[in-house]
């Protein structure tokens, strides 16, 4: 997978959204969607980003691509600071980084044929290419993602959800990007189709050497596809580790609760599993709890958790977690 160098380095990234309202148009505070996230991604690596709704995982993916402006922090892409780039240079970099979305049909223009949709990035970045060459590359890419080139003249509504996701993937890879942000790419698909798309993404990663930021709430899917896993809660990283190490010994109480909550498709295991139910709901990111953000739902929380935010510590084998009570 990796050759040791770093493709992407995200440093203390923050995205705060102002809440507008009141009688005088002003700000009533901020939603701290992403609040100080750091991680690195190597070429050809897949980082799974997991967390529940409102943890900031989608915002993080978009902020890395500058689709949402970050409030603070840095994103270093192949040695250059992305946020320092002017619009024109940024546009040039965009061909290297692409995104696929959760709702495959909504992310495709209904009035464009599949050929037009998939060829759009190519025509934008390579206007010099002859029409026949664009068509050839589109048909090649369709083959690559498992779509029959015979369907090139059809429109998105004629395709099923899984096929629409393949169209989205074809559009994302036609420029041979180095980074693919996948925002819940299989969540809207049926189980039997999910597996097809996961296999396709893994196959493309091998053949193209692309890095994936794989955002998902599905811990089983993330286990299958990722090299490393990062757990977010209310805009903060709780834990980040190599995949096998993470699932073998989740250290953070939130990661443990999250894994325990996922039902496993095996009745005997389910009957014998210990039920560690996390209580309550996720607090509002407008007014996150003091200290450790997870403390209001944490079975191990003590006074120190309210007073002091736990630092990210290394527990060996590049396994990092932020909790005052690990190893007690």
């Amino acid at each position: 997978m990796a050759d040791g160098s770093t493709l992407l380095s995200v440093q203390d990234l923050k995205v705060h959204f102002p809440i507008k309202g009141g009688i005088i148009a002003g700000s009533l505070g901020h939603v701290r969607a992403v609040d100080g996230v750091s991680f690195e991604l190597k070429p050809g690596e897949t980082l799974g980003i997991v967390g529940e709704s409102g943890c900031g995982k989608s915002t993080l993916g978009r902020a890395v691509l500058r689709l949402i402006e970050a409030t603070e922090g840095r994103v270093v892409w192949a040695g250059q600071d992305l946020f320092g780039l002017d619009d024109k240079t940024m546009r040039g970099q965009r061909r290297q980084m692409q995104i696929i979305f959760q709702d495959p049909l909504a992310s495709l223009d209904p009035r464009m044929s599949v050929e037009t949709i998939i060829g759009k990035p190519l025509r934008t970045f390579h206007p010099e290419l002859a029409r026949a060459e664009v068509r050839k590359r589109v048909l090649d890419t369709m083959n690559q993602v498992g779509l029959s080139p015979a369907m090139a003249n059809r429109y998105p509504h004629e395709f099923s959800g899984g096929q629409c996701q393949r169209i989205g993937i074809a559009r994302a890879i036609i420029l041979k990007p180095k980074l693919l942000v996948c925002d819940e790419p299989v969540s809207a698909l049926d189980v039997s189709i999910q597996a097809q798309i996961i296999n396709l993404l893994m196959e493309l990663q091998r053949s193209l050497g692309v890095s994936l930021l794989f955002i998902s709430h599905n811990l089983a899917v993330v286990r299958h596809i990722s090299h490393r896993v990062m757990v977010l809660y209310l805009g903060k990283v709780m834990e980040i580790a190599e995949r096998d190490d993470f699932y073998a010994r989740p250290l953070h109480p939130y990661s443990q609760g999250l894994i325990a909550a996922v039902p496993i498709a095996d009745p005997r295991i389910e009957r014998n599993r210990e039920r560690v139910l996390l209580q309550g709901d996720i607090p509002s990111p407008i007014n996150p709890p003091s200290g450790c953000r997870f403390r209001t739902r944490c079975p191990k929380a003590t006074e120190i958790c309210a007073a002091e935010e736990p630092a990210m510590r290394d527990y060996g084998q590049a396994h990092f977690a932020a909790c005052h009570h690990i190893g007690e």
Partner: protein, 337 residues
């Protein structure tokens, strides 16, 4: 059955438990511009007191329509035939007025999206007490006390204060609990749940599943739950019905279906689900092709185009759902030998 663990056998509700719901040859059709199409084709099943049955299938397999037709809630272009009896009373094609005597009291339903099934203009207290006043003739103050008790039971903190809230003042998980509380107010004998946790986060889903399991256990409510998540089935259900293209492919106890699947679709579904508890190396197993996009009336097996073991015969004739011992049944030409 071999199991190395203790207490590993399912605690199935007693074999002599009372049958609450009996569905026989239920078919559902919808009128589309080009004519009537069949969404559900001759589905039969029973539900006993305290039993939790899962109905699993892909989108468009007709799983939600089964529940809607039993509740008398089919869309206006839909029609159903066959027979369905709740405690002996017929359910299908009854006038809404007659159904209202049991809907919301003896039989109720939880939907996937609580925001669209709660009235945003009414306080939760009014929505909850309405049912009790209408069905049980309680006074407003008695009804309010019962409503608060039920909110407590579904673990809404500070129920006495929050009963005055409007739906938007609750989080998604809380709203789902409010809807469950509403469905349970009259202690129904039969509860339908249509993807009740699909819109929720996993930690909240775990809480809601626990709550439904408690009901079946403590109040002996019979539950039919529609889901696409095999994990939810394994955690919550006693029996499973596997649907594809509007027809039952296979049914049985969860142990039969998970450990000894007979139908190629069930096998494919189980094999293509990534597991949280084990590392699958290499590619996931897949079911090739796409789910049937348009329901049509076809003579053969709906799974035939995607089936790895199909033979010529499968296209021409739908295999009969053959029942074995204890409710186990499979509809496949190739499993009949």
């Amino acid at each position: 059955m071999l199991s190395t663990r203790t207490n590993a056998e399912p605690v199935a509700p007693g074999g002599d438990a009372r049958t609450v719901l009996a569905v026989q040859d239920l078919s559902i059709q919808f009128k589309l511009p080009h004519g009537w199409v069949t969404a559900v084709d001759r589905v039969s099943f029973d539900l006993k007191q305290g039993e939790v049955v899962g109905i699993v299938g892909e989108s468009g397999s007709g799983k939600s329509q089964i529940l809607l037709s039993l509740m008398g809630l089919l869309a206006s272009n839909g029609r159903c035939s066959g027979d369905a009896r709740f405690e002996g009373q017929p359910l299908l094609n009854r006038p809404p007025k007659e159904l209202d005597a049991i809907r919301g009291s003896a039989m109720s339903m939880i939907f996937q999206d609580p925001m669209t099934s709660l009235n945003p203009y009414m306080r939760v207290s009014d929505q909850l007490t309405e049912v009790l006043i209408a069905h049980q003739g309680k006074s407003a103050s008695e009804a309010l006390e019962t409503a608060i008790e039920m909110l407590d039971r579904v673990r809404i903190p500070e129920a006495r204060r929050r009963v005055r809230f409007y739906p938007h003042e609750f989080s998604g998980g809380m709203r789902q609990r409010v809807m469950i509380a509403m469905a349970l107010l009259c202690k129904p004998d039969l509860l339908f749940a249509d993807e009740p946790t699909t819109a929720l986060d996993v930690t909240v889903q775990a809480q809601i599943l626990e709550l439904i399991a408690e009901l079946a256990r403590d109040l002996k409510t019979a539950v039919a739950i529609v889901t696409h998540d095999l994990g939810v089935i394994a955690r919550l259900c006693d029996r499973v019905i596997v649907l594809y293209g509007g027809r039952i492919m296979e049914q049985g106890t969860i142990d039969e279906i998970f450990y000894d699947p007979k139908h190629p679709y069930t096998k494919g579904l189980l094999a293509s689900t990534p597991r949280l508890d084990e590392q699958v190396h290499g590619a996931l197993k897949t079911i090739p092709g796409q789910p049937r996009a348009a329901m049509g009336d076809i003579p053969g097996c709906p799974f035939e185009p995607r089936c790895p073991i199909r033979v010529e015969h499968c296209k021409a004739e739908m295999p009969v759902l053959r029942a074995g011992a204890g409710g186990r049944a499979v509809a496949c030409h190739m499993s009949e030998s």
